[in-house]
Subunit: 163 residues, 3 copies
Amino acid sequence: MKPLSTTAEKTTIVLFSGDYDKAMAAFIIANGAAAYEHEVTIFFTFWGLNALRKDEQVPVRKGFLEKMFAKMMPRGADRMGLSRMQFGGLGPKMIKHVMKKHNALTLPQLIELAREQNVKLVACTMTMDLLGLQQEELLDGIEYAGVAAYLGDAADGKVNLFI
Amino acid sequence: MKPLSTTAEKTTIVLFSGDYDKAMAAFIIANGAAAYEHEVTIFFTFWGLNALRKDEQVPVRKGFLEKMFAKMMPRGADRMGLSRMQFGGLGPKMIKHVMKKHNALTLPQLIELAREQNVKLVACTMTMDLLGLQQEELLDGIEYAGVAAYLGDAADGKVNLFI
Amino acid sequence: MKPLSTTAEKTTIVLFSGDYDKAMAAFIIANGAAAYEHEVTIFFTFWGLNALRKDEQVPVRKGFLEKMFAKMMPRGADRMGLSRMQFGGLGPKMIKHVMKKHNALTLPQLIELAREQNVKLVACTMTMDLLGLQQEELLDGIEYAGVAAYLGDAADGKVNLFI
């Protein structure tokens, strides 16, 4: 773990999208910035929260609509679809096959690398409420905050992206 | 209404998307930034312009293609669809139901709050022309400008997002 | 060609999207910024690379999956679809018809203008590998780089967008 100095450049990404390819882009940029000693925050909101879901089913009490949402959304990074060329699930298989051939990191591996590099992963509590996602269902060791915390980081950031 | 000092931090958002959920994200960030005394501009372009349409039909003279566009695009924020889980209109109903339960502001309410907080709402005149939208069809009291005005604001901005 | 001073403001755009309308927005902003003497970089990644493809078929040796990807993705800016109202190809025709009527620049013309204004067009080598695109298939005279080069530009940029 690298020490974080207060003078480090800051980079923030809002990950709104629940697409595998867009999440890959977000984590590739985040990991690159972290490698350059930037302090990096990814703020997960709306469908982007799915990238943080544990891949096993977690038993939590929920209302009916929240259960339906949970069922219809992908459980974890590996199950996310592509923003185009989805082809009923064939597209992601093709991309993952090509990625393996090129020794490219998968999305779960990119997330793991981000954690090793101290990228701050923050789940948006307001949209967790809306989609009925509970802390037990998301990866351990992440942070929870609202839009105010995001803006605090972004106002100091040089590179701020919405993906 | 807050006085706007020239030293306030600036935040700009280009709202390109015509999706209800993405527009919500844009307005939540904009309202958060305005609450922190940032000068905030949202620049509405392409499908994002639909969030500014009045919800009633406005009688204006138009060519055939422009009439078709106007018919096929949602008339106002409340009629916009979701970027995913649209399910033929069921998704937005579900989301709005959950939002009500959680006392979350609807998109029209978020827009209203933004106006109360002096968020500058600017419609892109070039894409209004392309989509055949006329000023009478958009909310009263907004501004009209081109990409040059956006860039003038963004060059002074710390947080500049494209949504 | 304008001389680029080292003190010029910098603007960077990541073009991830393969949609005609989003690419238009990217180039309109890029050309506007270049007109204001900003140093502008567009970094093309994932589906955005399609905007750089030559419109003729280029004979290159490829594996089976790479050939399939190349076939399924649009060959060049003029063949890209819309992010919404695609209507099986009718939407782009309608938009292009209206653009002609309003004397708006087409996407290929916007790209040409960007090149004349010295906008730096950079293809992401990592995603070229993933999608099986080779340099011979992309427009002549562009640059090739990875995420590190993008971050180098963005860290100096005032306006950094992900489209």
